[in-house]
Symmetry: C2
Subunit: 222 residues, 2 copies
């Protein structure tokens, strides 16, 4: 059996869950409360982050970026990085954009301040960080909307890891009711297409104790 | 001609410079003061980070992680990611460790506070951040030393991108006089081997206005 250690609100784990489903690789989810720093988990992943993937041959693969490169090499069926060198640069550039820049400027300032700080016992949410997270989210929605307007999918005319990296963050933020989809009709239309994929069902079924997602969260037509 | 937009103290640009030299790909360095946000540079790399690589066919590749994956695919000679799937997981895990965790916990708190804040006009260095950077650096040196003690190179018995990711950060910190090499004789010995490689000469020749590296910085025997 394959395992994925995750947290429901982790955008990085969400990306990997969708990639595994797109590649039709069955796996079992295991909730890992990383703040407990379980010694057994530290052995698997000394950085103590989620997700960590364990393949059926026992190979342990930590870090969502490393997992996605591994899955692409081990299971090339349903390719998600593009074919040409230029396509692969654009896919990876956008993955780095969402998992690096977007994560720092938006996700950490919103989900990080509102949920993770409480979970990790690191004090009260910082109102300035939250404000700056909302401002950055609006700019990022405009940039992603521009991509969606000019291309079929975010990285070009093919579905790719870039779409799932973006959807990992946006779906986690949407769960918390943080996304104003009216900012960009293009990105709203793109997200409706992502949501209607069977690979996304698991993510839409997530529930987190103490957080009530907005009514449209799992609604495929918004 | 190939170009690499860089800043001398950027650990990410240093990693790419060494990789290009290991692969014997001639290139020209271009200093990019990212804080000026030149419109022409934003066209090349909307994230406005260094490094950005421009290959001789004109393909623009931003982000050091994306550049290294691109170089490995476009120029497989002198392979730096390992051969087997398990080797490639371990190399990429350590690259993510140094360019993610180490960068956040050490580099940002030391070089970020002491140099980048001044350059970017973002206020005074934060003494708590600097203290926490030194504590984390000691722990990271011990972890890297443990790797160097049990393996020939950081990711195994072959030289890899993991070594150059680590050396990018440690050489930039060493330039600023921040590394206490006595913490780990193993990592000191590993770094002496890295420094003596011809691919590292460019990095050791760097000079930055207003920063004087310690006497041992470019000394191959320390």
């Amino acid at each position: 059996m394959r395992y994925l250690y995750h947290l429901p609100l982790s955008p990085f784990a969400r990306k990997v869950r969708v990639v595994l489903a797109e590649k039709r690789l069955p796996f079992e989810l295991r909730l890992e409360k990383v703040w407990e720093r379980r010694p057994e988990y530290l052995e698997l992943n000394p950085a103590c982050t989620v997700p960590t993937f364990v393949d059926e041959n026992g190979l342990v693969v930590p870090d969502s970026g490393v997992i996605c490169e591994y899955l692409e090499e081990a299971y090339p069926e349903a390719p998600l990085l593009g074919r040409t060198l230029a396509e692969r640069v654009e896919v990876r550039r956008l993955v780095a954009w969402f998992d690096g820049k977007f994560a720092q400027e938006v996700t950490r300032n919103l989900l990080g301040e509102k949920f993770m700080k409480r979970l990790l016992g690191r004090g009260e949410p910082d109102a300035n960080a939250i404000r700056s997270g909302y401002t950055a989210l609006r700019q990022h929605l405009e940039y992603a909307g521009w991509l969606a307007e000019n291309r079929k999918w975010l990285a070009g005319d093919f579905l790719s890891l870039a779409d799932f990296a973006a959807a990992g963050h946006l779906s986690a933020l949407d769960f918390a009711g943080d996304v104003d989809w009216s900012v960009s009709p293009q990105i709203r239309e793109w997200y409706a297409r992502i949501k209607s994929r069977p690979s996304f069902r698991g993510v839409l079924a997530d529930r987190v104790p103490g957080v009530m997602p907005p009514a449209h969260y799992a609604d495929l037509d918004f």
